[in-house]
Subunit: 208 residues, 2 copies
DNA sequence: TAGATTGTTAATCGATTAACAATC
DNA sequence: TAGATTGTTAATCGATTAACAATC
């Protein structure tokens, strides 16, 4: 555990390091220097060394880094071996795709429940799990104690749903609902995902 | 058009400004000061004024900004009224969800073709369009001249497919394929979307 | 030991914030 | 005119890069 808070710029680079190291390991690469890795990833060796040293000295002078040991360390920092209990609310197009396409386990999460407010959808199966009606959310959370929620609901419902989920013990939101979630409790983690904003930056670039 | 290249930090904030201004306009708000807007968006008034002044003086001293005029200007900068011709490759879970869920038109893009390499999928309809077999890609591009491609294909196929699409005239990639796209031509625009990396930062936060 | 490469400090760069003169 | 708020310059802050002593 780091002594000092790590900047979010650094944390957001960790999954990418992990990805490259996983691939190197699969290719049976044993050791790598910050210089080699930087060339492959398109960043500077300095940055890699700075980033890694936020968490401790994982390398060895004159040698570099051991690929599997480093991958292991970064995985541990990211908590990839955890099983953070997660529910998903809203099984429209996007909700279904996320439930089926996203590998939650690989990221230290476990999808334990799916919910939808539409009674005709409730009861159906998705990603090997039944979809529950949102009416049963309170009881489910009391029993199963999820800590993370994926929000794939319409934007107008999101703030209210989020506050309710906080009262049921949710500590983190992966929010796809097209609304900037701003909650009263500052300790709750929020990742607002705006897929379309990323599309807009491409459209901007094409105009120039 | 800006004289000097605008930093990507600024450009990435534009869609969010646009979103907030759209909502203000819907709420019949006529004018807003950078101070009021900053309070609503959770950033500083200075930053808003700096950002907007990259593109020109849209405000008026002593008054603030006219909501619809400013929204219009930002929309124009982002090219929301364009119809950038876009194809989508790969109609698995994620590809289907993107085709149906993402509002391309709102972001200045138009989805004009869907492709899949699986012959049993080709011919089916999705989002009101037929899915073509990837074998027909070359002819389609020569006829229809798309400039953007959404990649929802497996990671191993992505680099090769991307290079091929560049040769067919594609200038921008919205890449969901779990591979860091790095192309030989530096003028090609790439947005690598790593949904799962965003999940990892949440998992990290919960561990602290 | 000599060569290589880290960990870490110092320098640079860019982005954000503050301040204020210009002006509506 | 007086008050408000921009546009813009200057100051600050944080992140990235460079440099190098420590050390394997």
């Amino acid at each position: 555990m780091p002594k000092q808070a790590i900047s979010s710029s650094v944390i957001r680079r960790l999954p990418r390091y992990h990805r490259f190291l996983t691939e190197l390991e699969q290719r049976k690469v044993i050791r790598i220097s910050s210089k080699e890795l930087s060339a492959q990833m398109g960043l500077t060796a300095s940055q890699i060394r700075q980033d890694l040293n936020c968490f401790g000295g994982f390398g060895q002078q004159g040698y570099g880094y051991n690929v599997s040991a480093l991958r292991e360390e970064i995985g541990r920092i990211l908590g990839v071996n955890n099983r953070c209990r997660t529910i998903l609310i809203g099984t429209g197009n996007l909700g279904r795709a996320i439930a089926m396409h996203v590998n939650f386990q690989q990221r230290g999460c476990e999808l334990i429940g799916l919910f939808d407010s539409n009674p005709t959808v409730a009861g159906r199966d998705l990603a090997g799990m039944p979809i529950h009606h949102t009416d049963t959310l309170d009881g489910f959370c009391r029993m199963e104690k999820p800590v993370m929620a994926v929000l794939c609901i319409p934007r107008d419902n999101a703030p209210q749903m989020a506050e309710h989920l906080v009262s049921l013990g949710i500590r983190a939101f992966w929010n796809f609902s097209h609304a900037d979630l701003i909650l009263s409790d500052p300790d709750i983690l929020i990742e607002n995902v705006y897929l379309e904003d990323s599309l807009s930056t491409l459209a901007y670039g094409l105009n120039q």
